[in-house]
């Protein structure tokens, strides 16, 4: 039997949806008991949300003032203590999980599987390499704890309806003072979250300016969609960094992805491979994005976006 510890990602109040996707991955491991660990200053609210996820056996909480912000160097020694007796330690492959879990794995002296995208067996997972151009199946030794980050785009969020017990635990681990949180500039917006949105409208270098990029924001708003951007658009300052989609940005799997003026470099495509429907609007019929698009339109985006807005308003 597998005993899986999932490290919850949260902002102190809300459980991140990526954790629910991570729980789905854990549920695919045969014969698994799933524990979600919430480390926070005040874990109650987040723990209550985790307890509702289908498939969760138990929620453990570690309340401590030093857990107010997710600092890998502070959390890792606590996770190592928590991990005793578990066969797997999982977290979402988000900035949070990518920062924390390798530190945990190294402290445990075990290798890590990054970006697990499919469960083949209890100790065998698939993961993408080379920007998604080569999928590797890896087998981890069954006599060691398996540490893995989970690629959110590959798993649906676990549904609610559960009612797992919540248990508070005290951990004696010396946490370092050498790493200190200062601030986070969370761009607050009413737009849907890029990582979990059903629809995403995305813009590339072709938008040409920050002002023009407003076209993308406006269409997204009309459609109730999140906004994404290529690296070129982010580097040029048209869109903030947290909207970058791709190998080094967010990996997403929306129902609908609309790409305007994005050429389709492999580093971008790896971020949208799991989108159900990809629509590409590009004036170059040879642009590589058309090789992956389900619906392509060879046209000038500056004509298409206003027309589309009008057509959708009808």
């Amino acid at each position: 039997m597998s005993k899986i510890l999932v490290i919850a990602e949260h902002d102190g109040q809300k459980l991140n949806q990526a954790t629910a996707r991570c729980v789905s991955c854990a549920r695919q491991v045969p014969d698994a008991a799933i524990t979600v660990a919430v480390l926070a200053a005040d874990p109650a609210a987040v723990a209550a949300q985790a307890a509702q996820l289908a498939g969760v056996t138990e929620v453990v909480t570690v309340a401590a003032a030093h857990n107010a912000h997710a600092l890998a160097a502070v959390l890792a020694p606590q996770v190592v203590k928590l991990a005793a007796g578990y066969t797997h330690v999982l977290a979402a492959s988000t900035a949070f999980g990518k920062d924390l879990l390798p530190r945990v794995a190294a402290l445990l002296g075990v290798p890590q599987i990054s970006d697990a995208m499919a469960v083949v067996g209890a100790y065998t997972f698939k993961r993408p390499t080379y920007a998604g151009n080569a999928i590797v199946t890896l087998e981890a030794p069954a006599d060691k704890v398996l540490v893995a980050t989970v690629r959110s785009a590959s798993f649906e969020a676990a549904p609610g309806g559960g009612s797992a017990p919540v248990r508070a635990v005290a951990i004696e681990a010396s946490v370092p003072a050498h790493t200190r949180f200062v601030s986070v500039s969370a761009a607050t917006s009413d737009r849907p979250d890029l990582a979990s949105a059903a629809k995403v409208v995305s813009g590339g270098r072709a938008l040409g300016s920050k002002e023009n990029f407003e076209l993308v924001f406006r269409l997204a708003e009309k459609m109730g969609a999140a906004v994404g951007a290529s690296r070129a658009a982010v580097d040029a300052g048209y869109a903030p960094n947290e909207l970058q989609v791709g190998q080094t940005g967010k990996i997403i799997a929306p129902e609908l992805y609309l790409a305007f003026g994005i050429s389709g470099a492999i580093q971008h495509l790896t971020g949208i491979k799991d989108a159900k429907t990809i629509v590409a609007v590009n004036k170059d019929a040879e642009a590589p994005i058309f090789e992956v698009a389900d619906i392509g339109l060879v046209a000038d985006l500056f004509q298409v976006i206003p027309e589309l807005e009008k057509a959708l308003a009808k």
Partner: protein, 249 residues
């Protein structure tokens, strides 16, 4: 600070369309263009800028890889690194082993700062920086987009999912470079000539005492599932129809 150590990995160039070997044993690397991992180039550029601001004395480039990785180290020297170290092995090391090798070099060189790329574009694992920081028992700042050194500590801006996070860490520490940390310089011909005279030490992996034995067994490497062929519509009206048919608008 005295020294900055930078990790430089030899990887398949980012412009290469990688192909999977028909027998599923890996990807084709014979005759393929190899380069410095782009994120490591950014890491090196940052180290050079810190040195050029007068905040560091020496920049050392370290690579763990085959003998040919000397080419990438020569590129690093041409960019401005003062010296280079190659830990030679023909085995492909997992990030944990690479971190252990870097730790061995760190213990010998005692740098005040280690900067590596946030991920290598071959295995895309993004593990080496946090693993090295853990083994060294020092702070880590991953996905850096801004670094300010302030005596014995540093203020770092990190690219996180929510936006930008600022943290403060005591030195020595391990940083991993994100894309927007800087734009690496181009190497000029005279620098390439100069780089030929800079010291490049080669040592065998065995000398570090680190085992190359993998902890994970690669069972199969396969190409991703291709997407089914799409359609081309001629105008916005057709596009809207197609989206309606799929129930997407």
């Amino acid at each position: 600070m005295r020294k900055i150590l930078v990790g430089v990995k030899r990887v398949v160039d980012y412009n290469v369309r990688v192909r999977v070997k028909p027998d599923g044993s890996g990807v084709v690397t014979d005759g393929v263009k190899m380069s410095v991992n782009p994120f490591d180039e950014i890491a090196l550029e940052e180290a050079l800028r810190i040195k050029e601001r007068g905040e560091a004395g020496e920049v050392i480039a370290v690579s763990v890889g085959p003998d040919d990785a000397q080419q990438q180290l020569r590129t690093a020297l041409a960019m401005g690194a003062d010296r280079a170290i190659l830990v030679k092995t023909n085995e492909v090391l997992e990030p944990l082993a690479a971190a252990r090798v870097l730790l061995a070099i760190v213990q010998k060189e005692n740098p005040d700062l280690v900067i590596v790329g946030k991920q290598a574009i071959d295995d895309d694992a993004a593990q080496t920086a946090p693993m090295l920081a853990a083994l060294w028992d020092r702070p880590q700042a991953t996905f850096c987009s801004k670094i300010e050194i302030k005596g014995g500590s540093a203020t770092v801006v990190r690219e996180v999912d929510a936006g930008l996070e600022t943290i403060e860490v005591d030195l020595p520490a391990v940083f991993s470079a994100d894309l927007r940390l800087n734009e690496p310089r181009y190497v000029k011909l005279p620098d390439i000539m100069k780089a030929k005279k800079k010291p490049l030490d080669v040592l065998e992996l065995a000398a570090t005492g680190v085992s190359a034995a993998p902890g994970l067994k690669p069972v199969l490497t396969e190409p991703p599932k291709p997407r089914s062929k799409g359609i081309i519509v001629k105008d916005v009206a057709e596009l809207v129809d197609a989206l309606k048919k799929k129930g997407l608008v």
